[in-house]
């Protein structure tokens, strides 16, 4: 591991609308995340954490500011280039799993390999890689199951295997336990810890303080700004609203 940060942002702004009705969803966010960190981003709805996540995930571009991902300035890339960055550098884990329906676990995990423009692997190589990734998340016996035949926890494991397949620089998890029961949630968190222990850099968005407590570092976002950034768990974050808790 070198000392080059995985994420380095400078004064990120995202402004929606024009003129008088312009709203800044992000209003000057500067953060740095180093290799091997496991970071939570917390904040109430409307705080801008989703917008921040989208920009960090190269799904969206900042209106202003700079974003350097694994040493590459991605602030002004076009759609094609951003797609290539997502493919190579990023692995997504979503609250609603986002697996392709009517598609086996194996094929879902192989999906990022299909869009890899730099490596032209044979189908056998891709299948072997996907099988290895599924084995790593403990689903070796579910490779030919479709999402409809799996539990939520299993689906999320498939999604994690898919996120890992291209050996990304950064894993982005957006409320990864949001749709899961407590037991499955803890299993998924254990798996994320395992990945972290293996040296992966993970950024996780959550509004659940007990989930955020799992991470070394919690960044609190409010009104488009970083409110706090600390290593002492979620306790320093402002308590989420009642509406937020019941969601």
């Amino acid at each position: 591991m070198n000392n080059q940060p995985i994420i380095q942002t400078a004064d990120l702004r995202k402004i929606y609308g024009m003129g008088d009705i312009a709203v800044a969803a992000l209003d000057g966010v500067s953060i740095r995340i180093d290799p091997g960190e496991f970071v939570s981003i917390m904040g109430p709805s409307g705080s801008g954490k989703s917008t921040l996540m989208n920009i960090l995930g190269c799904l969206d571009r900042p209106t202003e500011g700079q974003y350097i991902l694994a040493g590459e300035d991605v602030s002004n890339l076009n759609k094609e280039q951003l797609a290539a960055i997502r493919n190579r550098q990023l692995g997504f884990i979503f609250q609603s799993y986002n697996l392709l329906a009517r598609t086996t676990a194996l094929k879902n995990v192989m999906l990022p390999l299909l869009y890899d423009q730099n490596n032209h692997r044979t189908n056998e190589e891709r299948e072997a890689m996907a099988l290895a990734a599924l084995t790593a998340v403990g689903l070796a016996d579910r490779v030919n199951h479709q999402p409809s035949e799996m539990s939520g926890g299993q689906k999320q494991r498939v999604a994690i295997a898919r996120a890992l397949i291209n050996k990304p620089a950064l894993i982005l998890a957006d409320e990864p336990t949001g749709n899961l029961d407590t037991k499955s949630s803890y299993e998924i968190m254990d798996l994320l810890h395992e990945l972290h222990d293996q040296g992966n850099t993970i950024v996780m968005v959550t509004h659940e303080p007990d989930i955020a407590e799992h991470t070394q570092r919690v960044i609190c976002v409010r009104d488009g700004k970083v409110e706090s950034d600390g290593r002492d768990g979620a306790s320093k974050c402002a308590q989420p609203s009642a509406a937020e808790v019941s969601r």
């Binding site: 094609e80 997504f92 986002n98 999906l111 869009y115």
Partner: protein, 401 residues
Amino acid sequence: MNFSEIMSVAWEGITANKVRSLLTMLGIIIGVAAVIVMIAISAGTEATIAEQINSLGANLIIVTAKRGLPGASRTLLYSDAEAIAEEVHSIAGVSAEQTTTTLIVKSSEAALEMTVTGTTADYPDVRDVPVGDGRYFTEQELDRSAKVAVLGYGIALDLFGEADPIGQTVTIGTTKFTVVGVMAEKGLVSGVDYDGFVYIPITVVFQKFVTSQMAGDRVRTIYVQSESQETMESAILQIESLLARRHDVELDNPDFTVQTQQDIIDTQEATTEAFRSLLAWVAGVSLIVGGIGIMNIMLVSVTERTREIGIRQSVGATPNDIRWQFLTEALMLSLVGGLIGVIVGVGGSWIFGASGDMRTVIVPTSILLAFGSAAAVGVFFGYFPANKAAQLDPIEALRHE
């Protein structure tokens, strides 16, 4: 993504909704099948026409009376034919034809009710209807109104069975004729049974079989054979001016019609041409309707699969990847439809041909044309939905329920 991956994703997209995909392809199937059947029918018709050219006699000019029913010409006379033979240059032969009213033709074994055709001696050469057995009657027999007859192949069978008819006697009306020849088998040409004629010297028709309404030496048709294709035009002009002079009519308002094989072919082709352009319209409209069907279903598909598009984008699909995926799917829909259309079209052409009346010739290039049009329709109508999919914002697409 490489070619086979794109193809397999598109194939999965199509087979996910088999009934819907099949219904979407229906327009293309009908359009492609229509193109192939249409071309097969018109090629069949053209082949039939080509055969008729060859069987009508080479470089043939056909003169008929403009008014009057067949066989009851008021204006065309045997002397007209003689005048053409004498005065018109660069012609190889002239023959006249007159048909009797219905008569009883009988042998010792059988009797038939039919018309009898009176002709001149060079009729077999001019009309290209060769004699099979024996001979045709001669100029001498024509001049002295000899009671000789030449039987069509089918008539000879009807009257004499397996026995040799040459030298036998047939009775036509009340007059006895000696059979001197049997025509070669020719069969049906454009609806006329060429084996069903009985030929006698035209002079005998004038002598024995004219009714009160057709007195004199009226003929039904005069056949003129031009020396070559090049002399046709000049022969026609000469015939027209000669007949106009003899009939004392204006050239631009004649009482006779001079036709060539080409005129007849043109008339027939004009009929098939109208039929062909009608079918071409049907085929073209069907392909366009099929294309709109594909566009419609692709737009539905893009909306239904917005989430899938978002997922693919999130793992690194570029706008181009997405565009190709949907374009390939549209193209595959139209090509599979085209393939089914080719099978239906070829099968339909074959059934049309086998069922009788309509002759069909399957033209290989028509299959390529139809297939190519289907592909073009797929690309044209598939591009808009594919582009719409490619332009989707990944965040919106992922949020789509």
